[in-house]
Amino acid sequence: MTTVTRRRALRYFGVSVAIAAASFAMPTSAQERTSIRIGYAISKTGPNSGGAGITTLPNYQLWVKDVNDAGGLELPDGSKLPIEVIEYDDRSSAEEVVRAVERLAAQDKVDFILPPWGTGFNLAVAPLFDRFGYPQLAVSAVTDKAPEFVQRWKKSYWLLGGGHDYTNALAGLLSKAAEAGEINKKVAMISVADGFGIDLVTAARPSFQEAGFEIVYDVTYPAGTTDFTPMINEATGSGADSFIAFSYPPETFAITQQAQVAKFNPKVLYLGVGTGFPAYGANNGENAEGIMSLGGIDPNNAENAAYRKRHEEVVGQAPDLWGSVVTYNSLQMLQQAIQRRGLDKEAVADELSNGTFQTVLGEVKLEDNQLRKLWFGGQWQNGQFVAVAPVDREGAAPAILPKPEWK
């Protein structure tokens, strides 16, 4: 009985293979160029869709609309071609994002590929961008290994800094405040036991030690924790003037609420991802005042203000105050590199490495394929998330210390 079944089965197996072969042998016809094809794979569903839907995807859409409304991408000869978008959903799966980028490069033969969201996914596709020669303008990937990656993948660009940048900037700000006698030299830290929290807390320990701070409380909690009362109580008793939480959005919101209930008002309150969401400022109103986090914007930058307004009109929500503007900036860099050097990927990559660009961040020039001139710390001041660190950078607002009382 089994051989009969197997023979039948084999026949079907063969048919399936033939179908498979036919499906990826589909020809892509050469045609007169009427558009510039730009593709990307992004997490539209699954656990990563929250972050991708705030920092990355709206900016891709806004940029494509801005460019096409202005007649398209300009080429060196002055002609303009509209952008044709090819978009895939990676469903928050690493295997899916790898295959989608292979499809964009080998099947769709797009002119440029925009990177996915997240450190892990940017690394997953980096070898492919490199193999196919596409420049990779990675924004939503905070990594201390960027200098190493640039050596490995020459056309990769890392625009959001590494964990040490953020914690060094914070330590610098706290040192300045401690020297001025505004706070004591003790910090209490909690961090989420997941990629972001671990990267940041591992970087923070040496940063604070070098700055002469004593870490009096340092615990890690599992992602999804909802009750922070015990940690807040311990931090209250630790005698530290600064409380730092490297948290994810749900916890950032929860800690803000529970600190108010516990009347826990440290002189420095620094929270993680989510603090820079427009909704955070809107929900917490006056109570957001004085709270610090990663990122921040320069309110005196007119181009950035115009970008924020346009983002809100087109997308229907304000951009977040950390990665969004850097994402839009990366697209403007690509646009200007194409305008100067055309569609040759090699030439565009060279321009991205060495050129100077005028973007929503002002004048931008990469150092060793990395954006180093960034705002690493911000603070809510009068309803705006204002950049306060690094303290020695021009345009940094003075931090309000101590943090005002809860209302």
Partner: protein, 326 residues
Amino acid sequence: MKTIIGFAVAAIAFGLLALAPFYLDAYGIGLLIGMTGYVTLASAWGLFSGRTGYVSLATVAFFGIGAYAVAALNETLPYPVILLVAAGIGLVVALIVGLATLRLAGVYFVIFTFGLAELIRQLVTWFETTVTGTLGRYIFLPLGPEHIYWQLLALCAVTLLITWWVDRSRLGMALRVIADDEVVASHIGIDIARTKIALFVISAVLITLVGAIQAPRWTYVEPAIVFNPTVSFLTLIMALLGGAARLWGPALGAIPLFILFEWLSANFPNHYSILLGLLFIVIVFLLPRGVVGLLERLRAPSAPLDQAAGTSAPAQGKAASQEVRG
């Protein structure tokens, strides 16, 4: 004689598939990697679940163990040794889990295996945060997509060979008796627990190796990436569509479904999840016994039922009905 012909045809098919990377572009190879990966996962899943009726959702637990072992060891050990260590870890975990749980019946086992993936993910996270102080790990191995594909193809062949061998061995005989009636089986002296554990361990080691071989493709590994529960569900639905108790059944389910998923995600990226859900419902209602079951039913008028359906059909029916209940 027929067996020899069957082997020859399979060998030629695998030989042709091994040549595919020389003719296909990167996307084609990527597609074959995904497809071969799922054929192997579904076949390995069918080897245990299809033959015992124990529906396991632990696929991604072992898949993730394999991937994480490669990520943890890729800088310290030569690659073949890493694969051996990964297989060894999979084996030990499967033994512990098997000894502890294979006395659970039906739906309790399903729930336990589902929890197992999350348990292992949390254990890895705990270990990484408290002991090593990092979470993500990098895999920089000099392996191109074609190397990953060839390894997967070889593993796929091994999986099918083991399945073929099990079906003809004393182990397979014992399984058929157990699937028919556990009480009878124990009365005639079959060690039920040992038989099930043996099969569970073989299946788990194969699944672990799929994860280990595929991991270098992602460069960066963290628990959220490798312990993605979707892998368990897709494997299960593929094996059930094809017919989990048959040698070629899981492959018959995995190949068309994989191509369909790919087509859906390339052409309907925004409606993928809805279409997938509808598809699952259709499969459960129209093909409760899988493609192979359907073929056998179509054949039934010309051949006596017991001859066409074979003795291992009850196990398959059991697996399918358990899925519907669960």
